[in-house]
Amino acid sequence: MTDSAPLLRTPLADIHRSLGGKMVPFAGWEMPVQYPAGILAEHNAVRNGCGVFDVSHMGEFEVTGPDRNAFVNRITCNDVSVLAPGQVQYSGLLTREGTFVDDCTVYRFDNKLMIVVNASNRAKAWEHVVDLKGGANIRLRDISDDIGLLAVQGPMTQALLQPIASIALDGIGYYHHGAGRIGGVDCFVSRTGYTGEDGFELYCRLKDTVALWEAVTRVGAVPIGLGARDSLRLEMGYALYGQEIDDTITPLEAGLGWIVKLDKGSPFVGLDALRAQKERGLNRKLVGFRLDGRGIARHGYPVFSGGKQVDVVRSGGQSPSLGVSIGTTFLPAGQAVVGTRFEVECRNEKIPAEVVKRPFWTKGSVRK
C-alpha cells in the first residue's frame, strides 16, 4: 500500500465522525483516535463502566477442511490440539527464525478454525499463511471484508449486554466463545479483549455492524477510540505489533514463552530456532518500567543502561489508572529483573527509570 492510497473505512466511519471522533490514519484505515470526551475519560469509562471499540479493521482468516487443526497447529506456536470447539487461544504466526509475523488469536469451531490478525499485518499474514499451505487438505479464506467486529469492554459489560442478548452470557468463560444474537444481530460472542477488563468481542456480518453498534451504545456502552485502546493495553503490558513484538523479536524475548509449546508433539514454523534460542539463553528480555521523574517515555526514545544505549522505548505513556509514567523496553537479559534502574532520554534529558512487574495495572475485572 502506498501513502497516497485512499484510507479504508469501516461501516462505522460516518458514525464516528457524527460523534465528533477525531479521525486519523491507522494501518491504512481511517479510525477514531478519540471522541470529544477525550482519552482519559474514555480510558476511565472502560476501567469503571463499559466502552465499545470499533475494531472492524482487524483481519480474520477462516480455515476449513479435514487437515485444518493440523495445519493451524503447524503455522502457530501455541498448541491447537488442546483447544475444544468454543475455545479461543492467544498465539503467534512466526517466521522460520522464530520471530513474529504477527500475534493472533485462534478460534476453534465445530467445523472450522478462525485466525484473527492485526489490521496492520493482514496482507503480510495472509501471504504467509497461504505460502505455508502446501499439500494440506484445507480451504483458506480471508473473510476480513465480510466481518464487523466490536470490542465491548469494562466491568459493566455483561450486565449491560445481557438484556439484549439471546444467550446466557455468563455461560461463556474467559477465552471461550458462543453464538447468539445481541440486539437482534447474529454474532459470535467471545469473552476476550485487550483492556484488562471483563468484556466481549462481538463478530457480526459486515452489513450488521451499524445495527450492532447502535444496540450496544443504546444500552450504555461508551464509544472509545484508539488512544484509550493503547493506554488500556499498555497498562496491562499486552504486546502491540510494531512495538513490543515484530519480525526481529521472538516470543521468548518478549515474555510470551507461555504461548510457545515446544513440546506440543508436532513441529511448527519457528520451532527449531526457538528451541536453539532457549538452549543458548536469551540475550535480551522485554521489561516494563516506571519513570521516576517528570516526563513521558514515548515510543522510540533512547534507553540507556550502564552508560550506553541498549534499546529504545517500545511503548510508553502516562498511565491514567496509576498516575505514573510507564513503558516497555528490552534490557540485556541479566538486567531484566524487577528493581533494575536505568535511564530514558526524554527530549535531551535523561530521566531515571526502574523495572517493575507487568501487568502495571492489576485491579482489572478480567476473568481468569
Binding site: 477525550g38 482519552i39 482519559l40 488512544g227 517528570r294 516526563g295 513521558i296 514515548r298 505513556g317 491514567p320
Partner: protein, 129 residues
C-alpha cells in the same frame, strides 16, 4: 468552533498573549484550539522566574497523552512568574486555557513589539475558523 477572545494577541504557534496591568509584562498560554488538538494534558514543564528567552525560543514543553509539544516565547523577554498550579493540575490548560491554564508572565525586552503579534481575526484565519 474554537473560542478566540478578541482582547488577546496570538502567535502562529497557537499561543495567546495578554497585556497585564503592569507595563511591558504579558501573560502567555496556549489557545483553546491548541489544547483541543493536543488532547488531555498530563504535564506542563515550565521555566523558572528570571530565565531569559529570545522570540520563538522554546521555553518549555507540554505533554499530552498522545503528543508532546514545545512552548515558544512569543517575544523576547524574561520570565517574571510561572503558573505553579499547573504542576498539580495540568488539566487546567484543557479546562480553562485563557484563565487558570495560563503558563508564564514575561517581561518584554521591547514592549512595543506586542502590537506586532496576530490579532484575533488574523489568528482565526490562521486556524481556518
Amino acid at each position: 468552533m474554537a473560542n478566540v477572545p478578541d482582547d488577546l494577541r496570538y502567535t502562529a504557534d497557537h499561543e495567546w498573549v495578554r497585556q497585564t496591568s503592569e507595563a511591558g509584562v504579558v501573560e502567555v498560554g496556549i489557545t483553546e484550539y491548541a489544547q483541543g488538538e493536543l488532547g488531555d494534558i498530563v504535564f506542563v514543564n515550565l521555566p523558572k522566574a528570571g530565565d531569559k528567552f529570545t522570540a520563538h525560543q522554546s521555553f518549555g514543553t507540554i505533554e499530552a497523552v498522545k503528543a508532546v509539544s514545545d512552548l515558544y516565547a512569543p517575544l523576547a523577554g524574561a520570565i517574571v512568574a510561572v503558573n505553579a498550579g499547573l504542576d498539580t493540575d495540568p488539566a487546567a490548560v484543557n479546562r480553562a486555557p485563557y484563565a487558570d491554564g495560563w503558563m508564564v508572565r514575561l517581561k518584554l525586552d521591547d514592549a512595543t513589539q506586542f502590537a506586532g503579534l496576530l490579532d484575533a481575526a488574523a489568528y482565526r484565519s490562521h486556524i481556518g475558523a
